[in-house]
């Protein structure tokens, strides 16, 4: 057992911090909550790419650096600590690139991976549908073969990063005659394709957090099929393991965490035993969650998909985020209700944003209930219900 980082890793962490501090100093952006999924800044993504920090774990031949998953976790941990606007490249870097690497053809790898790594190809996801949430295998969007093409029709929803996405990673039904898990395929679809349209959806924080994405006879060439036809459901389970694996589930609101501790210190609230106790408990929960997530990176390092381990860390972490927002609102008292832009609003409205935003964290990328099912059945070997 060893909880230390190597000298190179410590240096790497420092390099990332220096870079981010310099960015803030130059006024390029302000630290923000949820910036990993809502901070769209193509120029920032370009600057990160120039440092070769996108696709860090991928093979060099596809634009990666062949670094470890722990290295990548260090990088993302620091991005989140500083609330950096990394949304343009987050999904491609975190999961779509990996999916292409695991299942895609050589042609697809060459076409997309280097462009994700250069910060040019932004991805959105097309998984959920109005009638297919936790029960993803019930999805209805169809793809019908037509010569060298597939023609896609249907609707996807809750698509994060969709307004800015240049491509969508989409799961559709390619065979309605077979048992439903065995008739789904994965495609990469150009967001500019004729027949594809997006309508933004506003969440309870007032943010355009997702899009409905409509496919009206969208033609996609067969070479954009990822992996084998009709194997898409098994591929999406794999991809979801990675989607749930990261530090963003614990640190999406880290700027608020730092700010509320500072606020308590500045206003002498931290001398009140109840508040001390609550803030210390948050710190404890945070540190414990961080270890659960480093465990996930170590699982990936063994070349295993982090299945029940990432279910555990994600379910745990989203509870932490809710707790953080709840405590922050308590500490702020009546000021907590003031919205960003209001007179007297404390902490730029971060606490209120997180309080409302965190209601969705335990729903996206697998509800806590689904994650606990996975942990119970696949982690503990309980019989499926």
């Amino acid at each position: 057992m060893d909880f230390s980082f190597t000298e190179e890793q410590n240096k790497f962490r420092q390099d990332v911090r220096n870079f981010l501090e310099e960015e803030i100093k130059k006024g390029y952006w302000e630290p923000a909550c949820d910036a990993w999924v809502q901070g769209f800044d193509p120029e920032f993504t370009k600057r990160v790419a120039r440092r070769s920090w996108i696709g860090l774990t991928w093979p060099k031949e596809y634009g990666g650096q062949e670094r470890s998953h722990v290295d990548r976790l260090i990088l993302t941990e620091e991005m989140l600590r500083y609330g950096a606007p990394a949304a343009c490249h987050w999904f491609g870097d975190r999961q779509v690139g990996g999916a292409i690497l695991s299942f895609g053809s050589e042609e697809l790898k060459k076409e997309f991976l280097p462009r994700i790594a250069k910060g040019e190809a932004y991805f959105g996801l097309g998984m959920s549908e109005p009638g297919a949430g936790s029960d993803l295998a019930s999805l209805q969007t169809r793809a019908v073969e037509d010569g060298d093409y597939y023609v896609i029709s249907g609707q996807k929803t809750w698509a994060s990063c969709a307004s800015f996405a240049r491509y969508f990673d989409v799961y559709v039904r390619t065979d309605p005659e077979v048992p439903r898990h065995r008739g789904i395929s994965e495609f990469i679809v150009d967001a500019q394709s004729p027949g594809l349209s997006r309508i933004p959806m506003t969440d309870i924080t007032g943010t355009e957090a997702w899009n409905d994405v409509f496919f009206d006879n969208v033609r996609v060439h067969k070479r954009y099929l990822v992996g084998e036809k009709n194997r898409g459901f098994y591929q999406v389970l794999h991809q979801l393991d990675y989607e749930r694996s990261g530090m963003e589930r614990l640190m999406g609101n880290y700027p608020l965490f730092e700010a509320i501790i500072q606020f308590a210190k500045d206003n002498k609230l931290s001398q009140e035993p109840v508040i001390r106790n609550k803030l210390a408990q948050l710190q404890i929960e945070f540190e414990v969650g961080r270890l659960l997530i480093y465990r996930v990176a170590l699982v990936m390092e063994e070349r295993r998909a982090p299945n029940w381990e990432s279910s555990m860390s994600k379910a745990y972490s989203t509870e932490f985020e809710k707790h953080l927002a709840g405590v922050a609102m308590e500490v702020l008292g009546p000021y907590g209700q003031l919205m960003s832009g209001s007179k007297l609003v404390p902490l730029r409205g971060m606490a209120l944003h997180s309080y409302l935003g965190s209601k969705g964290y335990s729903l996206q990328a697998g509800t806590t209930e689904i994650l606990k099912n996975i942990l119970a059945v696949r982690g503990l070997g309980l019989p499926s219900s």
Binding site: M1, D2, F3, S4, F5, V70, I261, A264, K265, S270, Q271, R276, N277, L279, A280, Q281, Q283, I284, E287, V288, G289, L291, L292, Y294, R295, L298, M312, A315, Y316, E369, L371, K372, N373, L375, A376, V377, G379, L380, G381, L382, P383, S384, S385
Partner: protein, 374 residues
């Protein structure tokens, strides 16, 4: 970063699990709880022969030259087996403290006997009304008398004091901030012991010192400067308790999941119901998070790194996590789990005692708050 055990640690773990599986049945645990001494001399000697008492001590005293992290593996297995007896008192509270602050002469004198399993040690720290591990709570006084000291007063919750050969007694030697640790002959007739009846069935004692003389040579560490040493002792003891608790709750998780797979209602295993599955998932999350935070702090302690915050996090977390684990374990086991016929209660009772020992979650949250600069 690595979360796996070394090959040597895996071997130690296997040896310990096999040995304790063989020697420490719940029938044996029950006998020890009901006995006056609370341990078996025979088993104690066998543990000594396996080198367990000496595991984490330097070779020059007859020890195994292994680390605290290796000892942590053993403590986890002991927690898993609900092992009764004075191992924790002797090694974690007594021996490692002597190794830390004792003079070379004291180490030469006491450690080899401890390592050979010949002598039992323990720590007399807490007192009546004392629940806040700080220096001001120490009121048992050691007054100077002709170059030597006279100790008077009452210590409470002293584990295994009734069978101990030596006590490490934390006493006040100066009215303000003057704490000194004395190594005391536990068999001195001026000490009175009463064994208390406890939830864990372990042997916690009330220890009354009645004008007991102690030679100056028996001061462990520095006169009046003993509190920083005591803090380190408390920190290590808390850590040791965390290790035992990890073994305890890991075993309870396994027992509970096994039970959920076997027990049938409505013609299906209860573990196929989502309500039970989610309980089990919550238990597993608490167990794994407690394990990692404990391992992190144990690793730091073992490496000699400053780990006040990490120990505090581990102990605060596991104290409350284990209570959640037991609430669910009992709920899933149903009524059989609240009978003495089932083994679960051995674990439940010990977890509560361990939660209270060497600082509970509120105590450690305050330390975390201080470390955060609050």
């Amino acid at each position: 970063m690595k979360l796996t055990l070394t090959e040597e640690q895996e071997m130690l773990k296997k040896t310990a699990r096999d040995f304790l599986g063989d020697k420490c049945s719940k029938t044996f645990v029950k006998q020890m709880e009901e006995s006056e001494t609370g341990y078996s001399r025979e088993l104690w000697q066998e543990m000594g022969e396996l080198g367990w008492m000496g595991l984490a001590f330097p070779e020059k005293y007859g020890g195994g030259d292994m680390s605290f992290l290796d000892l942590a593996v053993l403590l986890e297995e002991m927690g898993r087996a609900c092992l009764p007896g004075p191992f924790f008192s002797t090694v974690v509270l007594g021996g490692l403290s002597i190794l830390d602050v004792g003079s070379e002469e004291q180490k030469q004198e006491y450690l080899p006997k401890l390592i050979r399993g010949e002598k039992i040690f323990t720590l007399a720290l807490t007192e009546p009304g004392y629940h806040n591990y700080d220096a001001s709570s120490v009121t048992v006084e050691a007054t100077r008398d002709d170059g030597n000291y006279i100790i008077s007063g009452t210590k409470l919750f002293v584990p295994d004091a009734h069978i101990a050969d030596y006590l490490l007694c934390v006493a006040r030697t100066k009215s303000k901030d003057g704490i000194t640790i004395f190594l005391v002959d536990a068999k001195n007739p001026r000490i009175n012991y009463t064994t208390l009846k406890t939830i864990a069935g372990d042997k916690l004692c009330e220890v009354v010192f009645d004008q007991m003389p102690v030679p100056k040579a028996n001061i462990l560490g520095r006169l009046n400067q003993g509190w920083s040493a005591a803090q380190k002792i408390i920190e290590r003891a808390a850590m040791g308790k965390c290790c035992e608790m990890v073994g305890n709750i890991q075993r309870v998780l396994e027992m509970t999941v096994d039970y959920a797979k076997e027990r049938k209602q409505f013609d299906r295993p209860i573990g196929s119901f989502q309500a039970i599955q989610h309980y089990c998932a919550d238990m597993a999350t608490d167990v794994d998070s407690a394990r990692f935070s404990t391992c992190q702090a144990a690793w730091m302690l073992s490496e000699g790194l400053s780990c006040t915050k990490e120990v505090a996090i581990a102990k605060a977390w596991i104290g409350e996590a284990s209570q959640r684990v037991f609430a669910l374990a009992h709920q899933i086991h149903g009524a059989i789990g609240v009978t003495v016929e089932h083994d679960l209660h051995y674990y439940t009772r010990r977890a509560k005692a361990a939660e209270l020992a060497f600082g509970d979650a509120n105590f450690y949250r305050e330390i975390v708050a201080r470390e955060m600069g609050l």
